[in-house]
């Protein structure tokens, strides 16, 4: 049985990765299981300078998922390079994806430049964060900006560049095509859906930031649909995510057209979720006589 997937020229041991922002730098979960068993991890969204993020509460549970308004709290790219990355690379074999964000086009280019000569395997460019004032989602909802940022990052990057798309758009294929035409090597989707929860007793939103990003099993049908649409609109490969809780959820994303999948919110429900997703895919392959996981990619049979 083969679980290896070649994505943008990088060989992933298996198609299961963890989603940015839900898994820190992997070290916390590595106390529960050896994270080298995963295909890779996408680290917490990095910015040029350290960021403190938004006020709390930053999380609210909702039916079928949760809202978050962390606002990209992170130690900054230099600390990542000098501390977390060397540690990950020395001790772990899974691939490391740097998730990067910025408030200006120049920030993104600068981030890519500063990660050039590092052991980072791939860049995931977050143009879809709903929780920051400048940039963030605004970049990912305008095809011209998607193109501009993709070009800026590509011009500096040494690693393959994956653009992470926002679901908060009318036509996600428009953004996908914009990224592809500007030279993106791959796409990842979806980031969180902008949402809100109000405490009816106090008449105040639960989140200090009022609004936040919706993730978890409730978003899965939207995410699968978007992966399906994008897979038909572009030729570059896709990382699918949004509400994956088990192996069959992951298979659904692969059938819709994803080459790799990421597990996010499910890590909070169960710290072993990502590992269980991987084992669930293998179970499915056994049960259904699938010899090579690559056979699943885009194998949906539309009616």
């Amino acid at each position: 049985m083969n679980t290896k997937v070649n994505f943008c020229g990088i060989e992933f041991d298996n198609p299961v990765l963890t989603a940015s922002g839900t898994y820190g730098f992997g070290l916390e979960y590595d106390q529960y299981y050896n994270i080298s068993q995963l295909g890779g991890i996408s680290v917490k969204g990095l910015t040029l300078k350290e960021r403190e993020g938004n006020p709390t509460p930053r999380i609210a549970e909702t039916y079928g998922g949760m809202l978050n308004s962390v606002g990209l709290q992170n130690p900054g790219v230099e600390t990542f390079k000098s501390f977390y990355l060397p540690k990950l690379k020395a001790e772990k074999t899974c691939k490391v994806i740097a998730n990067i964000a910025g408030s200006t086009v120049e920030d993104y280019a600068e981030m890519a430049r500063s990660l050039r000569d590092t052991a980072v395997d791939m860049l995931e460019v977050n143009i879809s964060c709903p929780n920051v004032k400048n940039g963030g989602m605004a970049f990912g909802t305008d095809p011209k900006m998607v193109e501009t940022i993709t070009r800026a990052v590509k011009s500096q990057a040494a690693q393959p560049v994956v653009m992470k798309l926002s679901p908060n758009v009318t036509d996600i294929t428009e953004m996908a095509r914009a990224a592809e035409s500007a030279g993106a090597d791959g796409l990842s989707l979806i980031n969180t859906l902008l949402g809100m929860k109000i405490d009816v007793r106090t008449r105040r939103p639960i989140l200090a930031n009022n609004m936040g990003g919706y993730s978890g099993p409730g978003v899965k049908p939207v995410a699968v649909r978007m992966v399906y649409q994008v897979a038909r609109a572009v030729k570059i490969p896709i990382i699918g995510m949004g509400g994956i809780m088990n192996g069959e959820d992951a298979v659904e994303f692969m059938l819709a057209g994803a080459s790799l999948v990421m597990v996010g919110t499910a890590n909070f429900t169960d710290p072993f979720a990502a590992l269980k997703v991987k084992n669930g895919i293998i179970d499915y392959m056994r049960r259904c006589g699938v010899e090579d996981v690559n056979e699943l990619i885009g194998a949906v049979k539309p009616n």
Binding site: G21, T22, Y23, E28, G53, P57, I59
Partner: protein, 247 residues
Amino acid sequence: MREDLKCEIIFRREIAPNQIELILKNRRLAQEARPGQFVHIAIENGVNILRRPISICDSFMENTRIIFEIKGEGTRWLAERREGDVLTLMGPLGNGFSIEPGKRAFVIGGGIGTFPLYKLCKTLNKPEIFLGFRNKDMVVMENEFSMTGNLHIATDDGSYGYYGFAITLAEEKIDGCDIIYACGPRPMLKAVKALAEKYGKKAQLSMEERMGCGIGACLVCVCKTTTGNRQVCLQGPVFDADEVIFD
């Protein structure tokens, strides 16, 4: 390696209106637990995807005690569990209180914030304990606390013990204090910080925040401190009062 622990409920009772005590059987949890740490409990009803953080009230041999108030869906599900049921949880998590031997300790607690202080009081040497409750019906664990130290009880409505705040009682006796340990509602913790500053005492505060992962990975649970936003689940829940910034 850490595990997601399976813990059998071996004892359950309602200790006050809407307050449930559970005794959980798991040797590893009981052996590793330190005062002020918590567990992150899976709500296995097929609906709630987030775990619920609940403090460790006490632990001995292979048993760990938790006490919680029924607030919403998650704690209601937990309250409906029966003896023989098994909970899935991560823990013990967080840093817990750091015990400074030889110091005369004051322990200040309010409402559900009293439960996490019990194991602490057992560990300290005869602390002065000040606990505040809403009213007489909500007073819990009185006998147990009084066995560990010198207990003073206050109620908001004066229906039992001192009429007023536990912290006012503590201030009256502040001369006999070297260090304060506190857990309770945010306004109370803010007042404890002010008290500690006023009299130049050290204080440790157990902070509360809504949580996701419970292990430091998602950064949703942060507490604002003089050294930036730090994770309550990992670098807390206990922080030195002089580091915590209340706005």
